[in-house]
């Protein structure tokens, strides 16, 4: 972003902190972008003619006579069909060596959708993973994070979901990605031949952390372009939102704000909601679905970041290593898709909801039986059957390497239920048992 004519150059910075600098200037708008010795900055505070700028890449080496130019607009992204297949940095500048995108410039972080203009999400997203499709069905226009410990293969699962989900466009917002993970995504998409429908905005661990704050807005602005202007079904992948929230807390700390729970800014809920609520089903057919990753520390979901996220998103998916089968499964207890009610038993077979609930209830009984076993008590016949059932259920349905369609999942569940339990133990509405439950004719 070079200098153009008639731009006033300021050269008298009065204060410099680690992330901000202040100077006197007139006619500056709130949230306006500026360049400080070529580094991008944004107006975060105006007190009379004293303007405070947040410099995204930090203030190291900035001198009091640095050249400050106000750019007269909020952060922008150039959108157009050419976004597809490209990689950008947090400022929306190409990092893949390609040319600049030709299109129109729009401000990122734009207005929200009027709730009455939203359509109720109703299209199921099939992933082939039974832990998701059967128990936690995803719907277009939904927003849902993986809650995962840093050592879990969340990026792999997310890439798998993205590729199987048959979205028209995929937008990846990578925040604090390691270079290895960045290359992983690039390779997986390339090998799947899907690169031409993927747009990526990447901030790696090499880049300054505060720059991350721009990534989700960039990704979502691109997604909005595809969904609104081209009526596409867009899947947005945001990883890792915990690092985004950490960057928020760095900024708020440097702005002397009083921290609330877990040193996070008091506005964390609103800051996250503003992003996640971009997930939407438009009446004209376009949609934005957000799948995010929130890494946990030691599985603690009461920490402010996962906690606030859980209140905003429409459910969450937990990964867990099941030691009985030695595979990673989608945890049926803690995972939840809030929008599944809109499609299960409606877009899927009518017995789906009850089969799902009965299986999970019996799986929970197995957990109780295991506790009993660990405490050294004898197991009843029922307890033993639940444990056997749980193992089969994990293996045939919960493991993330499953790839079957939803009816097949429901049938598999019936088979497992029937082979371990009596009708009264299963406890499904009699009508449905008659219609779907007698799969072997007995």
């Amino acid at each position: 972003m070079g200098t153009t004519a008639f731009q006033k150059i300021h050269t008298k910075i009065e204060h410099i902190t680690k992330a901000t600098c202040s100077l006197r200037a007139e006619g500056v708008g709130y949230e306006e972008m500026a360049s400080v010795d070529g580094r991008l900055a944004q107006v975060v505070k105006i007190e009379g003619d004293l303007i405070t700028l947040q410099i995204f890449s930090g203030t190291e080496g900035i001198s009091t006579d640095a050249e400050v130019i106000f750019l007269g607009h909020a952060p922008k992204l150039t959108v157009g069909e050419e976004l597809s297949g490209r990689f950008f940095n947090a400022y929306g500048e190409p990092i893949d060596g390609g040319p600049d995108v030709d299109g129109k410039e729009i401000e990122i972080g734009g207005p929200s959708v009027n709730p009455v203009r939203r359509e109720q999400p109703s299209e199921l997203i099939a992933t082939g993973i039974a832990g998701i499709d059967l128990n936690n069905t995803l719907v277009t226009g939904q927003k849902i994070p993986f809650f995962a410990d840093p050592d879990q293969p969340f990026n792999q699962v997310m890439a798998m979901v993205a590729l199987r989900a048959k979205a028209d466009k995929i937008v990846l917002g990578g925040m604090g990605l390691t270079n290895d993970d960045y290359l992983f995504f690039k390779n997986v998409f390339e090998n799947a031949g899907a690169l031409d429908r993927i747009t990526s905005f990447v901030n790696t661990t090499d880049d300054p952390p505060v720059e991350r704050l721009l990534v989700p807005d960039m990704a979502l602005t691109a997604a909005e372009y595809f969904a609104v202007e081209e009526n596409k079904n867009v899947l947005v992948l945001l990883t890792d939102m915990t690092l985004y929230a950490d960057a928020l807390s760095i900024v708020s700390n440097r702005m002397d704000q009083i921290p609330s729970k877990d040193s996070m800014p008091g506005s964390l809920y609103s800051d996250l909601a503003r992003l996640y609520e971009k997930a939407v089903q438009f009446p004209e057919g376009g949609s934005i679905t957000i799948i995010a990753v929130t890494t946990l520390s030691g599985g603690d979901i009461t920490h402010a970041i996962p906690d606030n996220t859980g209140y905003i998103t429409e459910g969450q998916l937990f990964l867990r290593r099941d030691t009985d089968i030695g595979k990673v499964i989608i945890d049926p207890f803690r995972s939840l898709s809030r929008l599944k009610q809109l499609v299960i038993g409606k877009k899927t077979r009518e017995d789906h909801p009850q089969v799902m609930n009965a299986s999970i209830r019996l799986y929970a009984d197995a957990a109780n039986a295991k506790t009993k076993l660990e405490n050294g008590f004898d197991l009843t016949d029922y307890d033993e059957r639940t444990i056997k059932f749980a193992k089969n259920y994990s293996e045939k349905l919960l493991a993330i390497d499953i790839n079957i369609d939803i009816d097949e999942m429901t049938n598999t569940a019936w088979d497992l239920l029937n082979s371990h339990f009596s009708v009264s133990e299963i406890g499904i509405k009699a009508e449905l048992v008659e219609k779907y439950g007698n799969r072997n004719g007995n």
């Binding site: 949230e31 007190e47 003619d49 207005p111 929200s112 909601a273 402010a304 209830r361 929970a364």
Partner: protein, 586 residues
């Protein structure tokens, strides 16, 4: 002459203004940028600086921009046409806004100025009237909407003239009143009221005493709420707060439902206005949307308007209460409103209270809950505002400031339990930890004895006792092992499980089970208490579990069947057969 000012400072949506005249706390003002007018509210005045919170994004706002003050606080516009509307937090009609995106400064009017209403006078010339006296009536959907003497008028007045029955627009003068000095005051069908102030035009506010049917068994049968009562639902995410609130909004026995979606998910509001125009109100047979008004200030909408949204909703509720109607107000979630207060208090650099919330949070919450209630109007009729709010405790910890402050203010407590939610036992209300203070009210006990059944209250206490005893037995079994305890313990535990599965658990997504009438609830309660009172003959503990599972299974089939239908009676008969297999004869 309106006071004017100029913007001198901006931090997010907190703007500092230098003014040229008097301003008052909570006064509404507009910032006039080149393109649009942005609405804002005065929240602090300190010498020459007036601090305002802007109900919009302040992106691009520049110092020096002109601000015009209106001379009044944030007001709700009250008149026929509110029913079935979907408003934002400041009562702008969302349906009237253009485009898919919410544009800054797109302020639409709350009512329809050109719509004609069939007005029927109630008051006559020469009648003495006071604020909130009924002057006439229009049909709003199917509800009698009373046109009242404006609440702002103090003292008593005489009706000088009133229009004849006929069609009028909301701004047409329908009556002229005379004050004590003989001044004429024209009255139309619409009036304004500042949302932060309660409407107190009633004669008496007694303790509430009428049971309010919600169709949710764990509420009605174990922790009943009353007309004009207050309740709150705290629960970690994923425990079913919103599903429960939606169930209440669909089924509760109220004339009007106001849903304030305050800082929550937009898709949840979409669910209401996608489904409510289709779903039928089981009592009136009309569509649910006809009795519903939605205030939608979802989490991505301006933060400052969150606080306004709950007050706007309450003011509308009080307005309809003055017409002698039963209103149920649901707010999801009051924590978001408290967080909005926290953000602002933080920007103003106030000294923080616990968890950085403002110090006066408990007072703000209890003042708000106090606006609900059952009232006798000046004309002897009664009306009520029942308020149920959800609380989203940070980290699921009920010791956080919003939950604690709300606990002091609300009389019913519906504790959602993570453990029950994990085990998919919905609604996940912990029946033992939850309480309704109203069952202790003799007024309510008398009402129930007379109108429902003499043993209802005793049954509530008994059922709770069984649940507590069952829980204790379960703990003993877990400590000592299945065969380390007498068989009675197993029986005791499983009898409490029958109550859990048959009464507490309810399938909100099943057409029939979703809503249970009081009559049906009583019937099923008698059934399960019958099981409890029966003495069974078990040889070993291994017989207990499968036996009670059969009981639970047939009872659930009963819950899934139309009340007293053939299949209901078939399951009922089956239940009796199962019971007679093992019952001890004496």
């Amino acid at each position: 002459m309106n006071t004017k000012g100029k913007v001198v400072g901006i931090i997010a949506n907190l703007v500092t203004v230098k003014v040229d005249g008097p301003v008052s706390q909570n006064e509404i003002c507009y910032i006039h940028t080149n393109e649009v007018k942005l609405m804002a509210e005065v929240i602090r005045i300190s010498k020459e600086n007036t601090y305002i919170q802007v109900f919009e994004s302040t992106r691009g706002l520049k110092p020096g921009t002109e601000v015009v003050f209106t001379g009044h606080m944030l007001e709700a516009t009250l008149g026929p046409g509110i029913l079935s509307k979907i408003y934002d937090g400041l009562q702008h009609d969302l349906n009237k806004m253009e485009g898919v995106m919410l544009q800054k400064g797109d302020y639409t009017s709350a009512l329809d100025d050109d719509k004609l209403w069939e007005f029927t006078p109630i008051a006559k010339e020469g009648d003495a009237v006071v604020a909130a006296s009924w002057l006439g009536e229009v049909k709003e959907n199917w509800m009698p909407h009373k046109i009242m003497v404006p609440f702002k008028l103090e003292g008593s007045y005489t009706v000088k003239s009133i229009v004849a029955k006929g069609e009028y627009k909301i701004n047409d003068t329908i009556a002229v009143l005379l004050d004590a000095d003989g001044n004429e005051i024209p009255v139309c069908m619409v009036q304004k009221w500042p949302v932060k102030l309660p409407i107190k035009s009633y004669s008496e506010k007694p303790r509430p005493f009428k049971l309010m049917e919600t169709g949710v068994r764990v509420i009605d049968s174990l922790n009943p709420i009353v007309e004009g009562g207050t309740g709150f639902i705290p629960g970690p995410f994923g425990t079913g707060k919103t599903v429960l609130q939606h169930a209440l909004s669909k089924q509760a026995d109220a004339d009007m439902i106001i849903v304030a979606a305050c800082g929550e998910r937009a898709n949840e509001v979409v669910e209401i206005f996608a489904e409510f125009p289709e779903l039928e109100d089981p009592r009136s047979g009309r569509k649910l949307m006809e009795r519903t008004t939605i205030i939608a200030n979802t989490s991505n909408m301006p933060v400052a308007a969150r606080e306004a949204s709950v007050y706007t909703a309450m003011t509308i509720a009080e307005y309809y209460r003055s017409m002698g109607l039963k209103i149920l107000l649901l707010a999801d979630s009051t924590s978001r409103w408290a967080q909005a207060l926290r953000e602002m208090s933080n920007r103003m650099e106030e000294l923080p209270g616990p968890d950085a919330f403002p110090m006066d949070l408990p007072a703000i919450i209890s003042n708000f809950y106090a606006r609900a209630g059952f009232v006798f109007l000046n004309n002897g009729n009664s009306g009520s505002v029942t308020f149920v709010g959800t609380v989203s405790p940070a980290g699921g910890n009920l010791k956080e400031p919003v939950t604690e402050s709300t606990k002091k203010a609300a009389r019913c407590f519906y504790a959602l339990s993570q453990e029950r939610a994990d085990r998919k036992r919905y609604p996940a209300i912990d029946a033992v930890d939850s309480y309704s203070k109203y069952i202790e009210y003799p007024e309510l006990q008398d009402f129930i004895k007379e109108n429902v059944s003499p043993e209802w209250v005793d049954n509530i206490l008994l059922a709770k006792n069984i649940l507590i005893k069952g829980r204790e037995a379960y703990e003993q079994i877990n400590i000592l092992g299945d065969d380390g305890v007498p068989v009675d313990y197993h029986e005791e535990f499983w009898k409490s499980e029958v109550i859990d599965f048959v009464i507490l658990q309810q399938d909100a997504f099943d057409k029939i089970d979703a809503s249970s009438s009081i009559e049906r609830q009583q019937y099923m309660m008698k059934k399960v208490l019958g099981v409890y009172h029966a003495k069974f003959n078990f040889e070993t503990f291994e017989e207990v579990n499968p036996y009670f599972k059969r009981i639970i299974n047939v009872c659930k089939q009963m819950n899934y069947s139309e009340f007293k239908s053939e299949s209901f009676q078939k399951s009922e008969k089956e239940l009796e057969e199962i019971i007679s297999e093992k019952i001890m004869m004496n």
